[in-house]
């Protein structure tokens, strides 16, 4: 009995801190989602699942959900592939490795408030450097068909280093001998990668995948600055919609319901990931 208590002391600080700070906000959001609360009109009453029922009929919600799912799927896939590629590329010794690794982290290091505006200017149809280099006048952010993809590109640029640095660390702890042993056994580079590297990388890939998906699904800053959710709500993600409902229209009940939906979606996706990549947690 005593031994078990002693072991739990290790996770105690984390759990206590997390509970103290986040239990109240979490309960607050859940309870609010069951109420009709409009600050301006001093309306605050319990309405059960009304907010959720309204949500199911709300076109703007479905539009936001679709934008969010599309954004997340494309963005995370690109980030994982590029991040993995960069991590593998940088895994071998070469000159100035330290500096290159620092350079690769630059996009992640730039503050989001700056990088979003920076991309807004790069994508500018008239004086943006992208159109200048391409010699064309594409309306990246003003065309409903292009805008979401521009946002995805800006987000992928910013967050690929996050994946890359996690995978780089993951690759570091794979003993080189394993790969060498496989090669002696006759495996090619792809074989080594598939049967040695990838399985050992799975825990780190899982972490990168989960956290990137969490963040992409909740994306707010880059979209809000680049396009404000437009044009014509073509880039409005769930977080942007929730933000507008909460802080512009001051409907705290409905805004909280939207947040709970994000929470549930992300929770569902995480469980899916863990089940798919299960059996690896030691």
């Amino acid at each position: 009995m005593k031994r078990r208590d002693g072991r739990y002391i290790f996770v105690a600080p984390a759990i206590v801190l997390l509970s103290l700070v986040t239990i109240y906000p979490a309960i607050y959001v859940f309870i609010l989602s069951l109420r009709r609360k409009m600050l301006i009109f001093h309306i605050s009453r319990f309405t059960g699942l009304d907010n959720y029922i309204f949500l199911l009929k709300d076109d703007r919600f479905w539009n936001a959900l679709w934008n969010t799912v599309y954004f997340t799927a494309v963005s995370v896939s690109l980030e994982m592939l590029l991040g993995l590629g960069i991590a593998l590329l940088l895994n071998r010794p070469f000159a100035a490795k330290g500096m290159v690794r620092a350079a690769v982290l630059v996009p992640w290091a730039i503050p989001t408030v700056v990088s979003a505006r920076m991309w807004e200017w790069i994508f500018n149809s008239d004086f943006g450097i992208l159109n200048y280099l391409l010699g064309m006048k594409i309306n990246w952010l003003g065309n409903p068909s292009w805008a979401l993809h521009a946002a995805i590109f800006a987000d992928v640029w910013k967050t690929t280093p996050f994946v890359a640095i996690l995978l780089m660390a993951g690759l570091q702890v794979i003993p080189r001998e394993l790969g060498q042993a496989a090669r002696i056994d006759g495996a090619g580079a792809w074989g080594v990668f598939r049967h040695v590297t990838l399985p050992l990388l799975k825990p780190v890939i899982l972490v990168a995948l989960i956290f990137r998906t969490l963040d992409a699904f909740r994306v707010f800053d880059v979209v809000y600055v680049l396009t404000g959710g437009g044009p014509a709500n073509s880039t409005e993600t769930l977080s942007v919609y929730a933000y507008k409902v909460l802080f512009q229209t001051l409907q705290f009940g409905y805004g909280s319901a939207l947040s709970v939906v994000v929470f549930l979606c992300v929770g569902g996706i995480s469980i899916l990931y863990i089940k798919l990549l299960s059996g690896i947690r030691a």
Partner: protein, 417 residues
């Protein structure tokens, strides 16, 4: 853990009470960031402190973005915060904040005879249910910038109607290379609503009329369709306008790449600077209208409001009265370019001598019309923005968009039931 928490608390407490005993009353003035030198505002505050011994003013800046400030105020005022006394309010928030019970009434600060000295637009914007809830501090309105040199070259005058503007743009851009005709703000944000209303109202239309939703009207459909046609049919406006905001268009016009621009008066000072490419070549005129309509610039500008939970309401009132007094407004106009909300200052010799530009603004500001003055406006604009954007980008036909706006707005107006 509890001990740790206590240790955390003690260094962190901001002790307003004791510091106030040392200095007297401390008023906290929260406002958006003022571009440029913060010196002039501080000097003005110092003057207030000299004239009111015992009161100290602490000014705290918020990000200039209207949305960021709105978010800040909502979070703080809903929590009943007394951390600030006087706040800068965007012209569209006043009815909302008043209805929410977050503001202290300011009728005392704007007695009737004084009220007449303010422009009618801002006065309407700060009045809710017959009472005043803020005092207009500085004013903004949409104006038409044009390239004087290019219009002169081809013998044109600033256009009086939108159709004239189209004609002049097409003519001049056919002659000159690398020039856009007319740039304005079409990104999906509040600025879009300002722009669209300038077209709708100049055609006799609008959003609300005596509390009724009248947005889906033939006049509005025509005006909105006309805006879309500027891009696709007449081709005087580049497609990039659907993602343009104030600064992008200001840069484009300032680089000499546009004939006409709709923007706020702030850009004027930037165009008159030493190394501006359009120095001496820019003129400002009232916005055009449709035939038979009236130029209807949208009202902008900021007001000063008092937090209802403020612990020093009398001192706050004195402060607001001071900051909106003729001398303060004149000082701010001369130093940081805030346009005064008092009509009398537009006849002030010194101000006119130093800033002749504002003489031309008087007529425009008298015509400036506020967006619908209703606590529902913030909800309404969240409906207006995407639908207007959809009409401009061709995702929806104007009739469809306006019909959708009418339906949703009708629903919003009934939301209190």
């Amino acid at each position: 853990m509890i001990i740790l928490l206590c240790l955390l608390i003690f260094p962190g407490c901001s002790d307003r009470e004791t510091s106030e005993k040392a200095h007297g009353t401390v008023l906290v003035f929260k406002h958006g960031k003022i571009a440029g030198d913060p010196g002039p505002l501080r000097r003005l505050l110092a003057r207030f402190e000299r004239e009111n011994p015992g009161i100290e003013v602490s000014d705290e800046t918020l990000p200039a973005s209207s949305d960021a400030q709105h978010q800040f105020y909502v979070i703080n005022l809903e929590a009943g915060s007394a951390d600030f006394d006087v706040m800068g309010l965007d012209v569209i928030w006043v009815p909302e904040f008043a209805r929410a019970g977050w503001l202290r009434e300011t009728d005392r600060l704007m007695p009737q005879k004084e009220r007449d000295d303010f422009f009618p637009g801002p006065v309407e914007a700060v009045t809710y249910r017959g009472k005043a809830w803020a005092v207009p501090w500085y004013i903004d309105a949409g104006v038409l910038y044009y390239r004087k040199d290019l219009l002169d070259r081809y013998g044109f005058k600033p256009p009086g109607t939108w159709q004239e503007l189209v004609f002049e743009s097409q003519y001049v851009t056919a002659m000159e290379k690398g020039l856009y005709g007319f740039v304005w703000q079409g990104k999906q944000y509040e600025g879009l609503v300002c722009n669209v209303l300038e077209f709708l109202r100049s055609n006799g239309g609008g959003v609300l009329s005596n509390g009724r939703v009248v947005i889906d009207s033939p006049a509005n459909r025509f005006a909105l369709g006309f805006m879309r046609d500027l891009i696709v049919k007449y081709r005087v406006t580049p497609p990039l306008v659907t993602t343009a905001d104030e600064e992008s268009t200001r840069h484009i016009f300032g680089n000499g790449r546009a004939l006409f621009m709709r923007n706020w008066p702030y850009a004027w000072n930037i165009f008159t600077v030493e190394n501006s490419q359009v120095r001496g070549r820019v003129g400002v005129a009232p916005l055009p209208a449709f035939p038979g309509g009236r130029s209807s610039p949208t009202l902008g500008g900021w007001q000063l409001g008092i937090n209802r939970c403020s612990r020093h309401p009398e001192a706050a009132e004195r402060f607001v009265r001071f900051m909106t007094s003729p001398s303060s407004q004149k000082y701010l106009a001369l130093t940081i370019g805030y346009k005064p909300t008092r009509k009398s200052l537009y006849r002030d010799h010194e101000l006119l001598a130093r800033q002749p530009f504002i003489a031309g603004l008087y007529g425009i500001l008298m015509n400036a019309r506020s967006r619908p003055v209703t606590p529902y406006y913030m909800m309404m604009t969240q409906v207006l923005q995407p639908e207007f954007s959809a009409a401009l980008t061709g995702v929806r036909k104007p009739a469809e968009a306006l019909g959708s706006v009418a339906r949703q707005t009708g629903h919003i107006m009934g939301i209190e039931q």
